[in-house]
């Protein structure tokens, strides 16, 4: 029976094949539609930046061991991956070139939702220690260095002397801002140097939230895990918590205040321009009262008249918008070119800045708003009963005074906005000046710098590295004009990075992280920078591997860890005071700013680089001549020592300083806001001039009467100046009040400048007062030259 039933069913299927296929087709379509609907409703889950956190660094790097635990234990992320920076010497032909690269876990690109356009992604498990060495290239590198050859996939390239197989090429549009300069990507593979320790924080996490999970929930989840790990591994994880943020926050978060300030400035400028044109349109409407009245009398309906104004407003606004768009296109390409390349790499969104759907929509929107404003002014002014009154000219009714007052009020608004923009520009300029004049503790002029990466395969042992240092210093010092040269692990003014945890024997210690910056430097380095020695001695050539280790502190470190004591002769060690880590303090120098200009000054310890050499190092050269001219010679000299050396980033210290992110952001916002402020001042003052002139023209009769009655010219001028002064004063007071408020809002952009900076506000008031006086002197003179006879007989 059962078999029979089955046979029957099979036969039905055979005969009704077509209908079966149709059913299946419809079913699959339904399935896909449902899936698509759900996907849209759920949205694509946002990417999150996942990192560790402690008091000093709210967002610090993630250690590899912690990452593996987090990945295993979390329940809020659908995937968690890590990335870190690294660099290789890429051998192309006979030249070794340093290329920045990224080191990532296997699922990094899947988490970001990126698929290679050529070849394949890293396979799961391909990041484990001992796996074969593979690499994925960025599109730019593939095109630039390998001519876009498709057969490159599967071939091997030489990275710092080791063969890596190219397995994929990323899409052209892929840019990962936190590691924007990476030319190629390799899996994590073996635990490098410090990764064997859990306390080695050298990676950053990026994860994708599960559907419906908020960033806060993920943050709470990670913090719970971090707290568990802190209990489990107190030695390395005490005080380590977690930080989860939207990835976009990491990319644009720092820029947001600047962008918002600039947008607000541009908006204010647009407001002034609209107010200005609106009052011009109003004035014209005033003089067209007769025309309007005649049109009305000839049978134009009110709606026909309003349409007339709307058409005119639209025309004005569209012409303005069109001119603005043309100017904007030119300006945008100019501005984008001003951003230095290394910085632009970190801002992939700059590439899409320009005319696109969004900006076109925005421009259309603002045009429409401006048109409405321009049309509304005269249309509202068209009090319809006036159509009749308008025919009888010369009637200076109450309405006319109202509109004159409105014009005056609008000018107060313009002046207020101009003051706000001027004050903003002044504060930014002042803070930019302060930033560039931060006490760096070094003499930045006549200082050339360069980075060197030596192939580890050749310079493997410490003795070889030290020999290379000596050779570099000897050759560079022999160059004409060079006074001295020094080597460091990290040049000053770059970052508060590369830290060390210290402990001082004999002082209470409860496992806290006494975090200080560590710099490994050659004996001549600090004197090359012209750092000032306060106590003790500098490092000498004798501080090498054959002698006990010593350390030089900066003043901040001496003050923080040896308050009220003489640090000379004291010992400093690591958290466990291991004998190998013990160093004696031999000198104290005045603070050299190691971090960026707008960063906090940190405690710093300087070790002799002979005790901890590395194949990567940075060189500073003091010259008596032009340091720019030295750069090419310097690079050539270093390449001559060994063509396998990666020599790059040759730059002058002054250039390093002015090209830093903080100073560039400051410079751009200062320029732009100053530009806005200048335009605003011109528009505001022209507006004032217009209002006062109009007022004088309306009061010609009154002035004539006054003069006929014996008023002096001076008194008439005073009359006009008083009106202008009144308007200016109101604008100034309102503007100063508003600018203190706005400055408070943009205080995160200000460096060492208070929002209520008195001198800036006084300067702004003076500039505005002077310009306003100039603008009102012309109509005042004209008023005082009114001929009373003519004025009285005019009507």
């Amino acid at each position: 029976m059962n078999a029979l039933a089955r046979l029957l069913r099979k036969l039905t299927v055979l005969f009704r094949r077509q209908s079966f296929d149709q059913d299946l087709q419809e079913e699959m379509t339904f399935h896909q539609e449902q899936a698509a609907k759900e996907f849209e409703a759920g949205g694509i889950a946002p990417e999150a930046d996942v990192d560790e956190s402690e008091t000093l660094f709210p967002r610090s790097n993630l250690s590899r061991d912690d990452y593996e635990d987090w990945k295993r234990l979390n329940s809020t992320l659908s995937s968690l991956d890590v990335y870190g920076g690294t660099g290789f010497l890429l051998r192309t032909g006979s030249l070794s070139e340093p290329v920045p690269a990224g080191r990532v876990s296997d699922g990094f690109f899947r988490t970001l939702g990126v698929e290679p356009i050529l070849g394949r992604d890293f396979r799961p498990g391909e990041d484990r220690p001992g796996q074969p060495k593979v690499a994925i290239l960025s599109y730019g590198t593939w095109m630039k260095r390998f001519g876009g050859r498709r057969d490159l996939i599967g071939q091997s390239i030489s990275l710092t002397g080791e063969a890596y197989t190219v397995v994929g090429v990323l899409p052209r549009s892929f840019a990962f801002a936190p590691r924007a300069s990476a030319e190629l990507w390799v899996p994590l593979l073996d635990k490098t140097g410090c990764e064997k320790r859990r306390s080695c924080h050298n990676l950053d996490g990026v994860g994708r939230l599960r559907n419906g999970v908020t960033v806060e929930a993920a943050s709470a989840d990670m913090k719970t895990i971090a707290a568990q790990l802190a209990l489990q591994y107190p030695g390395s994880n005490k005080g380590q918590s977690a930080s989860v943020l939207q990835l976009s926050e990491i990319v644009v978060g720092k820029l947001r205040p600047t962008v918002v300030t600039l947008l607000a400035g541009a908006g204010l400028l647009l407001l002034i321009a609209c107010v200005n044109v609106a009052s011009l349109v109003l004035l014209r409407a005033e003089s067209r009262r007769r025309e309007t009245a005649v049109r009305g009398a000839l049978g134009a309906t009110p709606s026909r008249l309003v349409r007339q104004f709307v058409t005119e407003g639209l025309l004005l606004a569209s012409l303005g918008c069109a001119a603005g768009v043309v100017l904007a296109v030119v300006m945008m390409s100019l501005l984008a070119r001003l951003v230095p390349k290394p910085m632009a790499q970190g801002m992939p969104f700059l590439a899409v800045v320009g005319l696109n759907r969004h900006t076109a929509l925005f421009a259309a929107g603002s045009t429409l708003m401006a048109a409405v404003l321009l049309a509304a002014a005269p249309a509202l002014r068209l009090a319809f009963k006036e159509i009749r009154d308008g025919l009888t000219d010369g009637s200076k009714g109450a309405a006319s005074r109202f509109w004159r007052r409105l014009g005056a009020n609008l000018v107060v608004v313009e002046l207020t906005v101009a003051v706000v923009l001027l004050a903003g520009a002044g504060l930014l300029a002042k803070s930019f000046y302060r930033l560039l004049h931060v006490e760096t503790g070094i003499d930045t002029s006549h200082l050339a710098t360069v980075y060197i990466m030596a192939p580890e395969t050749v310079y493997e042992k410490p003795e070889q590295q030290v020999a290379l240092y000596r050779q570099v210093l000897e050759k560079v010092s022999a160059l004409p004009g060079v006074k001295s040269a020094g080597i460091t692990s990290v040049l000053p003014l770059l970052c508060n990075c590369d830290t060390d945890w210290i402990r001082i024997p004999g002082k209470p210690f409860h496992g806290e992280h006494n975090e200080v910056l560590e710099r490994d430097v050659s004996p001549q380095y600090l004197s090359t920078l012209k750092a000032k020695l306060l106590r003790g001695r500098m490092l000498t050539e004798a501080d090498d591997a054959n002698h006990p280790q010593v350390v030089i502190l900066n003043e901040s470190m001496a003050r923080k860890y040896f308050p009220g004591e003489d640090p000379l002769g004291k010992m400093i060690g690591d958290g466990d005071l291991t004998p190998k880590s013990m160093r004696q303090v031999v000198g104290v120098i005045e603070d050299v700013r190691e971090g960026a200009l707008d960063d906090q000054a940190w405690p710093v310890e300087y070790f002799s680089i002979y005790h901890g050499p590395d194949s990567y190092f940075e060189v500073a050269v003091r010259t008596t001549q032009n340091e720019n001219a030295l750069l090419p010679v310097l690079v050539k000299t270093l390449r001559d020592i060994d063509p396998n050396l990666g020599v790059y980033g040759a730059n002058t210290m002054n250039e390093l300083m002015s090209a830093s992110r903080g100073s560039l952001l400051h410079r751009f916002s200062t320029w732009l806001v100053s530009g806005f402020a200048t335009l605003a001042l011109v528009l505001g003052v022209v507006g004032l001039y217009g209002v006062v002139t109009y007022s004088v023209s309306q009061r010609t009769r009154e002035i004539g009467v006054r003069m006929a009655l014996g008023a002096q010219r001076g008194a008439i001028q005073w009359l006009v100046l008083k009106e202008a002064g009144w308007l200016t004063g109101m604008g100034m007071i309102a503007g100063l009040a508003c600018s203190i408020a706005t400055a408070h809002l943009m205080r995160s952009l200000l460096f060492n400048v208070h929002a209520w900076d008195f001198s800036t506000l006084v300067a702004v008031a003076a500039v505005l007062g002077f310009s306003a006086l100039l603008a009102s002197l012309i109509p005042a003179r004209r008023a005082s030259s009114v001929n009373p006879v003519k004025a009285l007989s005019a009507e």
Binding site: K10, V13, L24, E27, M28, F30, Q32
Partner: protein
Amino acid sequence: MPGTLDMLILKTLTRAPLHGYGIAQSIKRVSDDVLTVEEGSLYPALQRLLLQGWVKAEWKKTETNRRARYYTLTAAGRKQLGTEISNFQKMIAAIGQVLEDAQEAV
């Protein structure tokens, strides 16, 4: 594992009649996103189950008034599910034994 998809589908249908998409979603949800069933294996499996007579299919309207094919478990299907579950448990037990044995050997 071969054969387990049929079992999962049958088990899912014990609660209520569902359309194919609903079955896939239900399996995904109940397994905490561990098991995802692709269309490419789900619909052939459903066809197979239909042929065996373990499920019935009929076209009905969904809540959103869209035509969808709903599958219902038949009595034969319920019986089949029982057999498959017991087979599966036997297999799991067997694998467990092999693994334990292997560990002792290590």
